[in-house]
Symmetry: C2
Subunit: 494 residues, 2 copies
């Protein structure tokens, strides 16, 4: 019988010592493939240890692939497959992921996945004034109230909330959303709402619902930058519709509709990202009439619906949608917190029923405790209070930004659009010989960062645009930032 | 000047009364398109109310599309587009969603979306004994400890957690997962892990990563039922590989690999769903060698990796994966709570980098506060404590179920596979003239519900299988349930 030595004074548990002993004996060849190990009872007596110690050691050796054992019978040393065995593929034989990866996914990665790309989700730290962010200001997050709401619901019925939820989303939250939408003139019932992981998830699900590879999709140009990779992945043809100061050009929309109907039209009628343009009522009426005529769905992205702190904004297109051709996308991200990932789609029941299956296939359902806490938060009236508070904050910020914009009047090559609310201002620099990268260098040298216009267009243009956001900057920072912007533009035109 | 009457004693706010008055006047024609409204100052004086009351009313009327106003100028009645205007499409003109909806999405809905379908996410309430559920038992949820962990993290750094997170997932949680995987013999670093919304989201992202329409995907037969709609949506050809008592048939795998390599092979080596089969070490070694030879990725779904309460289970295939061809999917759903939707993928960095972009396009990132709370929960040692507790619970339940199975020995047409852990037992009823629906009726009449075998196969078979799960039943319920099962089977064979 092979001898094993165990040290009862060691800190290493006995069964682990035994494992190491046996492994070592196998590795140095003292135990060979096919060798019988001592029966547990016999070895336990021999080593003067509890028989479960031997059991435990044998069990782990078996899991590690060193020994073979059949219940009630002996354990044998077996041929363990070594990790560094001969099957290790050599460098040029090793699996070539590029050949395995879906070319659409590879394309996304090559175009948008590199670290530092604005869509990579990992932007470098910046210690200047950052006008590029569209995140709401974390200094105003009602975190403490949300924590209270979470505690409320998790104390009341934790089991329900930790179990699988409905793919359509947590019913009480759908009810609250449905009620809230009536304030915007939208009448929907809970069966016409599905909750998503933020607006981005809504867009992804809607593409799955409506788009076949090769389909056309109309998108305002410029538009929300993440639309391009998301649509591209699903193999559709993006048709950019140029923005005018009122909204996307209706004549071009009409002629494109006549050419070939798209799977849908994606539009942001309020505080359009990135231009900040808000379409007026007359424009909206013409738009919906046009799409009703061609029977093409409109996806209305209302990510900043509630940011109407200047008051004067028409109701959503969805509010006029008697024929249910409008699919409305909403989100809590820009008002409360992006990190909880809660948005929704309001659309005809036929769409929602199908979206529920797509949602189930993509991740079963949203996060239950978070949805419940959000419902509680709204029920307590915290949402109303918060909206009022941030309206004051952002009204002040935007007024300050607009008044500071006037300073740029002395540059005849600088143009901008004054927004009716929201977070962003769109600036155009005309007659510029510099590339975006060169301009960015000048901004960074002046310790400001702006979102580069190119990220909002499908194709390059000779014009140079920048999106300036006040979402994350307080008044002092805005004031200082505009001084720097003024200096940067002076540098550019000198 | 048109006269308006306001009732200062009414509970309806004055500006709302004014809105109603003006709307009514427009609707009855007392105010016509193009009519000027009184200036705010003048009307305020006339009605003896604050001027902001008039402002508010005009603003809302404008948002509602009743009036037109330019800043500093008069307000006019405009032609409002009526919801029930002439553009309302008639019944047979109205948008036909079936023509708009992606046929793959429609197919999913027709096959899997109907209410009552086991994949619809809405199962009917059942007051008998339910052997069909694979959810962990909510009576053992460590809800209170998780709530404490949530409070801990939300008190410490709420702003960080409510802001957008990394697409790859919350770094400290990735670290914890990476550490935990070493217990299962898997060495990965944090760059080789991405956090997903549960295992289903991991599968969806992996299909996006690896599959082009028309690609073959190998799947054990039977398999996790949700694989079929999910794979079908992306247009791939599912190749079912029949299960033997050891795992999917290696000879068939080999011949299918020789025929045409698939995009990947999806396998559950531990406590396979639905059969409960656990592949032994020798099988796993042959399997990985085979796929290394053909350089085809293996997706190892380890959704119940930690449910090894009987001890004797080999390490994951991923633990032998020197060549990084194995993509490992894990989940917290079956151990802690499904409702928090947290799972992960461990794979080569090349895959993870690309998955991060796909994740970003599909929903930006996972839920931040929940990921942080989970990390805290694990750090506090609660996860370890909980695993030990539920191991005891499920060991007892499964032992009771296995001993009760012996009663079925008197039926020569009943076969089953004894599992090594996990939640499920797979039962085969031979020589049966009844359909699944008829058998289900018999079970329901005996006040038990089982998962029907047909939901785990791509195509119908003449055999009749049932999956019996002890996940949600305590010992008393299991005992009672087996008595009823015995009676039901007696009914079937009489």
């Amino acid at each position: 019988m092979v001898l094993f030595k165990l040290d009862k004074n060691s800190k290493i548990p006995l069964f682990k010592q035994l494992i190491n002993e046996i492994k070592e004996k196998i590795e140095i060849g003292a135990l060979k493939v096919g060798d019988k190990l001592p029966p547990t009872r016999q070895l336990a007596a021999h080593l003067d240890v509890n028989r479960t110690t031997i059991y435990k050691a044998y069990q782990e050796l078996w899991a590690l692939g060193y020994i073979e054992s059949k219940s009630g019978s002996y354990s044998y040393v077996r041929q363990k497959r070594e990790c560094n065995s001969e099957v290790l593929l050599s460098e040029n034989e090793s699996i070539c992921w590029k050949n395995k990866i879906n070319p659409q996914a590879e394309k996304l990665f090559q175009q948008f996945g590199k670290i530092g790309h604005p869509f990579s989700g990992k932007t470098e730290k910046f210690d200047g004034i950052d006008f590029s962010l569209l995140h709401p200001d974390s200094r105003y997050f009602p975190a403490e109230r949300f924590r209270k709401a979470l505690n409320e619901v998790l104390t009341a019925n934790p089991s329900d909330l930790f179990d699988y939820g409905e793919s359509r989303g947590y019913l009480p939250l759908r009810r609250i959303i449905s009620n809230r939408l009536t304030l915007h003139g939208i009448n929907t019932n809970v069966d016409e709402i599905i909750i998503t992981n933020g607006a981005q998830n809504a867009i992804d699900l809607l593409i799955k619902l409506l788009v076949k590879p090769g389909d056309r999709v109309f998108v305002e140009s410029p538009s929300y930058g993440m639309m391009f990779p998301t649509l591209t992945f699903y193999g559709c043809k993006i048709v950019p519709i140029p923005m005018t100061n009122e909204g996307a050009d209706l004549n071009i929309l009409q002629s494109e509709l006549q050419k070939e109907a798209p799977a849908f039209y994606y539009t942001m009628p309020n505080f359009h990202n990135p231009t900040g343009i808000t379409a007026n009522q007359e424009y909206r009426e013409k738009l919906i009439a046009l799409f009703e005529k061609f029977q093409v769905p409109i996806v209305e992205d209302a990510f900043e619906e509630e940011m109407k702190y200047f008051g004067k904004v028409p109701l959503p297109i969805k509010s006029m949608d008697k024929n249910k051709i409008v699919i409305y996308v909403g989100s809590f991200s820009k008002i409360l917190f992006p990190g909880i990932r809660v948005g929704w789609i309001a659309a005809s029941k036929e769409c929602i029923d199908r979206l529920a299956v797509l949602k189930r296939c993509s991740d079963m359902s949203g996060n239950q405790p978070i949805q419940a806490a959000l419902a509680e938060f709204c029920k307590e009236g915290f949402y109303e209070v918060h909206i009022k508070k941030i309206h004051k904050v952002y009204r002040k910020r935007m007024m300050l930004a607009i008044s500071n914009l006037q300073k740029l009047n002395r540059f005849e090559n600088v143009e901008w659009i004054e927004p009716n609310g929201g977070f962003t201002i769109w600036i155009k620099l005309k007659n510029i010989p510099f590339s975006y990268d060169e301009l960015n260098e000048i901004f960074l040298a002046n310790k400001i960062r702006l979102a580069l216009g190119r990220d909002f267009f499908l194709t390059n243009s000779t014009e140079r645009y920048f999106r300036l956001s006040v979402a994350n900057l307080n008044e002092k920072e805005i004031y200082l930032g505009f001084n720097r912007l003024y200096n940067a533009i002076k540098d550019i035109y000198n």
